[in-house]
């Protein structure tokens, strides 16, 4: 399958390894990955901070760049959530019917990486090896906007050598919250401190998630405190180890069935 990678602006600049790992994982499965280099930002930061006009322009740009593709995969759950759910409200409020229908068509083709692997491709074992104690932090947008939770866990359980530990209070927000982290830095860090404490209680050495923004916050705190914990995006864990090419049954040649989101619609 030809898969368009939406790497997310944040990853492009600060976490290129996540982008490379995503490419590696998808190619390992025999898919063709393309990177539409005209892509920029989905507008999440603008939208969630109240800059609707600016977000609308970026949504329009996103639609233009990605409309030609059948499957758009991103290693950022919050960006996927923005495209899949928030755009609809934004565009509806702006009263742009044309863009609205364009984005509605697009929303069904945008997938967070683990969702794409597990729900669309039906793959859970990528042949990865990562011999470490790992805690999975379900980020709020993955958990609540996309209902992505069991997919990453399923993938992590199939990683050789990986010891998955329970994270107490896993569903609690880490405190990042986009511009919340700088508008209310004290509260943001109080939440992060509790998250870090939970990670330390879990005995994990690595915190894994599907959003590098949250991980930058948790990891930034862990590094500042020399907490002995590091953060790592799921894609990088999945790309680890020798892991020769792994092909999911029936995916390599035959065109897959229609792409559908199997998560539940937002309440």
């Amino acid at each position: 399958m030809r898969v368009a990678l939406f790497v997310a602006c944040f990853n492009d600049l600060a976490f290129p390894a996540t982008g490379r790992a995503t490419v590696e994982v998808l190619e390992r499965l025999g898919h063709e990955v393309v990177f539409p280099s005209a892509q920029t930002c989905c507008g999440q930061m603008h939208l969630n901070t109240g800059y609707r006009r600016e977000a609308l322009a970026l949504a329009r740009h996103f639609a233009r760049v990605f409309t030609p593709f059948e499957a758009i995969v991103t290693p950022s759950a919050s960006c996927a959530g923005t495209v899949v759910h928030s755009y609809a409200d934004l565009v509806q409020d702006a009263g742009d019917a044309g863009l609205s229908s364009e984005l509605a068509g697009l929303a069904g083709r945008v997938f967070e990486l683990s969702q794409f692997l597990v729900d669309v491709l039906g793959v859970t074992d990528l042949g990865a090896e990562f011999p470490h104690r790992v805690a999975y932090h379900p980020t709020c947008h993955s958990l609540r906007a996309l209902q992505v939770y069991r997919q990453p866990l399923e993938l992590l359980r199939h990683v050789r050598g990986l010891h998955l530990v329970d994270l107490p209070g896993e569903e609690q927000c880490c405190g990042f919250g986009g511009t919340f982290s700088v508008k209310n830095p004290g509260v943001s860090m109080a939440m992060m401190a509790d998250k870090l404490a939970a990670v330390q209680r879990s005995g994990a050495e690595v915190v894994c998630a599907v959003d590098n923004s949250c991980l930058a916050h948790i990891g930034g705190g862990a590094d500042r405190l020399s907490a002995g914990v590091r953060v790592m995006h799921l894609a990088e864990v999945l790309a680890s180890g020798a892991g020769g090419p792994v092909r999911a049954p029936g995916v390599a040649r035959a065109a897959p069935g229609p792409l559908v989101h199997r998560g539940q619609p937002r309440p």
Binding site: F15, H46, C140, V187
Partner: protein, 778 residues
């Protein structure tokens, strides 16, 4: 002259919140309060766990939430019509409805009503709406002494403090602090705390009972809020735990209830949805101990004079916003507070508003206007948008969406030459063009190299400094993803589909073709400025101000203009929840007994012939001697060898032993006389197995409401044919206008460290006898 006519700051910034700092400052302060942090952590965690447990029992929770949201939307869409109905029904039932467009009007109305009674003492049930309109301050200024009777509100009032939670306002106080406040302040306001008062919550609750007892028995005027107002019957509903509410709602001569216009629901039947959701969401109980329902004035069975004050105070402003008005569905359960990670760290007072937490962050800016002050402007940003609130909201308010919507309004109000909007617009300008973005990413890499982990930024003003105050920056490498892609896969890039030079639409069409490679530096600068200009100059037009006239006309006019400008799409209320719990009789009975016992009440199944003996046993167990009964209580329900008589007759069983004095109620008996009885025995109208609730409706074998309230021990007799499975079946059996008391266990409080204490102002001991089979008892 009453000072209440003076215009105050309208809106929900009541009480001491007027001088509150904006959220970021208040939150930083709250974060340093370690006692507060510990209390909040324990309290929110406890309520969350309890809520999850009782919600898991509801197989039809999602259907109930669908119905609740739809009923509230229907109410809002028919608001004017429903309020007129309330007015008519309340009036027909001997009460009076008053309309207040603003908080100042509401204060003036209530102060005037109180002063007409000639009383200078008022007992009050906890009410968010009266806090919102700053009623207590107005009454105090008019020389009226107001006593808050809810335990938590009493703690807050005696401590000259501010509430920190909607349902448990004294959440921020621990038992030692409560004890200290009681010892220091109770004496100034009435009966002093007993000598040697300890800090056990049960002891503290008993001190509150003693302190307020006389006040309740003597009160002439009471003020309450309302949880629901039923349009079709004009009934008002108040849900509470301690019995302080019932004291205020039934004993005084005059009752003034203050309700937001958003509290109206169309039908009595709608209560079957909300009464299943409210307590479960709020306190994690299946049903709060007491739900009172009454219609108009109820002379002989409650207040002879009843006033309902319907308050707008910004609600019609919210109603005019087709997105924001979802917040008016709120039933004030505070479930969103208990799951909010931000609230859990800072507590309610940091929100600077009567309504704290996620719902406060979307309600207060709408009631006040998002541009009305720093508090209102910063509240929508007091959230990480984690979405936990929307998951638990029983009326499905999409709080994250509302927060984002209000952030948009706050930004539009404050656009201008400030650093944030300029930076945001500059970022959007950069990101709207692949070429500009590519350059920015390169530049970002260089900047990242220079900054390293950014520790040097800590302490600098601005967002970078605030980030670096506790977090390192991610290690930004020299090679961005797009650079890597270009160097590794340059040949097979997927860029082709984009028409490179297509101009990007910029809202107002200010931008030119920005992808053109030929654009000179000057052209680019012009384009950049074109992007910025609207930000620098334009402010979004403010929401049109409603021209509010006074009283009824003002409120009704504002409602109809809101609904004309933003009409609702009519929807049928989906009622796919369970209507008939349908269990077989034996199972119902077992479930009922189990659920009653979980409230720490005593439940027993007795045969028809044994009921009198069972009543006697219950009375003996607690040593109750003086017993009052309604005049039509079946003879067989009396203790054996005791016949009810007029006051003062004493029955002595021939073998000696227990002595009961059973007295038949007489309308002439006042509250103080009733307080002289140890126990009351009463029948009921219907009982609910799923919630362990017994509903009294002042019908046969029950008498007036005060009987089941004032004596400290209550024995209720339920006939098996009165037992139903769930709340909807019970509601179907009730007459809306009958004065009702839904009893679920003894009176109770969890206001001190969330430790449940049975017995506050209402009966401290409850016995429920279920009568099965046939016999003289039936």
């Amino acid at each position: 002259m009453s000072p209440t006519g003076a215009p105050g700051v309208p809106g929900p910034r009541g009480d001491g919140f007027r001088q509150a700092p904006a959220f970021p400052e208040a939150a930083s302060r709250a974060l340093r309060d370690t006692q507060l942090r510990a209390n909040l952590r324990r309290a929110t965690g406890t309520i969350r766990d309890k809520r999850d447990r009782v919600m898991a029992e509801l197989g039809d929770l999602e259907q109930l939430r669908d119905a609740a949201a739809a009923i509230k939307d229907e109410s809002l869409s028919r608001l004017g019509e429903l309020l007129s109905q309330v007015e008519e029904r309340v009036g027909a039932a001997g009460g009076r409805v008053h309309y207040a467009a603003t908080s100042a009007e509401a204060r003036a109305i209530v102060v005037d009503l109180v002063s007409r009674t000639g009383s200078t003492d008022v007992v009050k049930v906890k009410s968010m709406t009266t806090a919102e309109i700053e009623l207590n301050e107005a009454l105090a200024a008019a020389g009226v002494e107001v006593v808050e009777t809810d335990l938590a509100e009493l703690i807050v009032q005696l401590g000259d403090d501010l509430p920190s939670h909607i349902v448990v306002p004294a959440l921020h106080r621990n038992r030692a602090e409560v004890r200290e406040i009681f010892v220091r302040r109770m004496g100034e306001r009435g009966l002093a705390a007993p000598a040697g008062l300890g800090d056990d919550p049960a002891e503290l609750a008993a001190a509150a009972r003693a302190h307020l007892r006389r006040r309740f028995l003597d009160a002439k005027v009471a003020i309450s809020g309302a949880n629901f107002v039923v349009a079709e019957s004009g009934s008002v509903v108040v849900v509470e735990s301690e019995g302080n509410g019932r004291m205020c709602l039934t004993l005084p001569h005059t009752l003034i209830s203050v309700a937001g216009i958003d509290k109206v629901v169309p039908r009595f039947r709608d209560l079957e949805v909300f009464l299943q959701l409210l307590a479960r969401s709020a306190t994690g109980e299946r049903m709060s101990p007491y739900t009172s329902v009454w219609t108009g004035a109820t002379p002989g069975n409650g207040p002879s004079e009843f006033h309902l004050v319907l308050v707008d105070n910004g609600r019609t402003r919210a109603l005019a916003d087709p997105i924001g008005r979802q917040a008016l569905r709120c039933i004030r359960c505070a479930a969103c507070l208990n799951v909010c990670p931000v609230y859990e760290r800072v507590g309610g007072r940091a929100y600077g508003s009567v309504y704290p937490g996620p719902i406060g962050a979307v309600l207060t800016p709408q009631l006040d206007g998002v541009a009305s002050g720093r508090v209102e402007a910063t509240l929508p940003f007091a959230s990480t948008l984690c979405g936990a609130c929307a998951e638990v909201c029983p009326v499905r308010i999409d709080i994250p969406r509302l927060l984002v919507h209000l952030r948009g309004r706050a930004v539009d109000e404050h656009r201008g030459a400030h650093p944030e909007p300029v930076a945001m617009v500059a970022a959007a300008y950069t990101m709207s063009s692949p070429r500009r973005f590519g350059r920015a990413v390169k530049l970002g890499g260089l900047v990242g190299k220079v900054l390293g982990r950014g520790r040097a930024l800590a302490g600098l003003p601005g967002p970078a400094g605030r980030w670096a105050s506790g977090r390192d920056l991610p290690q930004v490498g020299a090679q961005s993803f797009r650079d890597w892609w270009a160097s590794e896969r340059g040949g097979r890039s997927g860029t082709a589909p984009l028409p490179v030079a297509e101009p990007l639409q910029r809202g107002r069409g200010a931008g030119g073709p920005d992808g053109a490679r030929t654009a000179s530096g000057a052209v680019q600068l012009r384009q950049a400025l074109a992007w910025l200009r609207p930000t620098m100059q334009q402010r979004a037009p403010g929401v049109a101000r409603q021209v509010v006239l006074e009283g009824r006309d003002g409120v009704m006019g504002a409602i109809s203009s809101a609904l004309v400008s933003a009409p609702f799409v009519p929807v049928e209320v989906p009622r796919h929840y369970t209507h008939d719990a349908g269990a077989v009789a034996g199972e119902l009975l077992a479930l009922f007994v189990e659920r009653v016992a979980e409230y720490r009440a005593t439940a027993r199944v007795v045969g028809g012939g044994d009921v009198g003996a069972a009543v006697a046993e219950a009375l003996e167990r607690t040593g109750s001697r003086r017993v009052i009964v309604p005049s039509d209580l079946p003879e067989a329900w009396l203790p054996p060898r005791a016949t009810a008589t007029a006051p003062a007759a004493v029955q002595r069983p021939p073998n000696g032993g227990v002595v009961f004095e059973v007295v038949v109620d007489d309308p002439g008996l006042g509250a103080t006389e009733l307080d002289g009885f140890d126990a009351a025995v009463s029948g009921c109208a219907v009982a609910i197995a799923a919630t362990g609730t017994v509903v009294l409706d002042s019908g046969p074998a029950q008498g007036r409401r005060a009987l089941s309230l004032v004596p400290d021990h209550l024995v209720l007799v339920v006939r098996q044919d009165q037992l139903v499975g769930g709340v909807p079946e019970a509601v179907a059996r009730l007459v809306p206008t009958a004065a009702q008391t839904w009893v679920s266990g003894p009176s109770a409080t969890s206001d001190i460290e969330l430790q449940r204490v049975e017995g506050v102002h209402g009966p401290r001991v409850l016995d429920v006898l279920v009568l099965v089979g046939s016999g003289p008892g039936h």
